[in-house]
C-alpha cells in the first residue's frame, strides 16, 4: 500500500495544508484526500507541483508501506 508523507513534510517545513493548497493550485479537499491516503490516483502535474513547493523528491512524498 502506498502511503503519502504529506503530513510529515509539511510539519518539517512549517507549512499548513491551506498554504500548500494555495501554492500548488489544488483544492484543500483534494490535498486532504491525498494526505489521508484516500486518493486512488494522482496526476503527474499535481505530484510535480507538490514536490516543487515542498522542495522534495517523489520518493520523499510517496512511500510503500
Amino acid at each position: 500500500m502506498i502511503h503519502c508523507r504529506l503530513d510529515e513534510l509539511l510539519e518539517q517545513r512549517g507549512m499548513t495544508l491551506t498554504e500548500l493548497s494555495r501554492e500548488v493550485g489544488v483544492t484543500l479537499a483534494n490535498l486532504s484526500v491525498l494526505k489521508n491516503d484516500r486518493a486512488r490516483a494522482i496526476r503527474f502535474s499535481t505530484l510535480a507541483a507538490i514536490c516543487r513547493v515542498l522542495e522534495c523528491e517523489v520518493g520523499d512524498l510517496l512511500v510503500i508501506d
Partner: protein, 220 residues
C-alpha cells in the same frame, strides 16, 4: 468534477439560472398535463367525445351534416381530417379512447419528469448516477411502448365508433369506412417514439458518464 459549466463565474450563474428556469417550466407543464388528464377523464364521463377520422367519404361533392351519420354525431368539423363530436359512443370505444388519451398525457408527464430530474441533478452538480440512468432508460422504454400502443387503441376505438354510426357507406357520408389497419396507421404519432428513443440514447450516454466518473473518483 469539472463540467462545461465550471469555467467562468458568469457562465456558471447563467447556466444555473437557465436550469432553474427549465425546471420551473417543466413543473408548470407537468401540472398542466395533470389538469388536462383530469379534464380528459371528466369529459369521458360526460359522454362527449371528439374523434379525428380520415375523410374517406365524398363530403366535398355532396352536402352533408351531422344528421347523415345518425343522432350520436353533434358536429362535423372539416379540416385536414374530419373531426366528429359525438355523444354516447359505445362503451368499449369510450374505454379505448380514454385509455389512449390518458397514455398520451402520460407521455408529457414522463418527459417533464425526466427534464426535472436532469435539471435537479445538474444543479446539485452530480449528474451521473446509476439510479438516474436506470430511471431515464425505463422512461424511454415506456415512451416507445406508448407510441406503439396508443395508435392500436385509437384504431380499435375508431373502428368501433364508425361501425356504430348510420349511413357511413352512403355518398352523403363525409367519413366513409376503413379497416382496422388503416385506422391504426392513421392514428400513428411518432413523437412519443422519437422522445423515447432520445431518452434511451441519453441513458446510454449517462451510463458512460457514470463509468467515467467512477474511474476518476479519488483522482487528485
Amino acid at each position: 468534477m469539472k463540467t462545461a459549466f465550471s469555467t467562468k463565474p458568469s457562465a456558471k450563474v447563467a447556466a444555473k439560472v437557465g436550469l432553474w428556469l427549465l425546471l420551473v417550466t417543466a413543473c408548470g407543464v407537468a401540472v398542466a398535463a395533470i389538469l388536462r388528464l383530469v379534464s380528459t377523464l371528466g369529459y369521458a364521463f360526460t359522454g362527449v367525445t371528439t374523434v379525428a377520422l380520415p375523410g374517406l367519404g365524398y363530403s366535398r361533392t355532396y352536402p352533408s351534416g351531422p344528421s347523415v351519420l345518425g343522432p350520436k354525431v353533434q358536429q362535423v368539423l372539416h379540416g385536414g381530417n374530419i373531426d366528429l363530436v359525438l355523444q354516447g359512443i359505445p362503451g368499449e370505444a369510450l374505454v379505448l379512447n380514454t385509455a389512449a388519451s390518458v397514455l398520451g398525457q402520460l407521455t408529457t408527464l414522463l418527459v417533464c419528469a425526466a427534464v426535472i430530474m436532469l435539471c435537479w441533478r445538474l444543479l446539485r452538480g452530480v449528474p451521473f448516477a446509476s439510479t438516474l440512468t436506470r430511471f431515464i432508460s425505463i422512461m424511454g422504454g415506456v415512451l416507445v411502448l406508448i407510441g406503439v400502443v396508443v395508435p392500436i387503441l385509437q384504431g380499435f376505438s375508431k373502428l368501433v365508433i364508425v361501425n356504430s354510426l348510420d349511413n357511413v357507406l352512403t355518398v352523403e357520408s363525409p367519413i366513409g369506412k376503413g379497416n382496422l389497419e388503416y385506422y391504426i396507421v392513421f392514428s400513428v404519432d411518432l413523437l412519443p417514439v422519437v422522445l423515447g428513443v432520445a431518452l434511451l440514447l441519453l441513458a446510454a450516454v449517462f451510463a458512460k458518464g457514470a463509468q467515467l466518473q467512477r474511474d476518476t473518483e479519488g483522482l487528485v
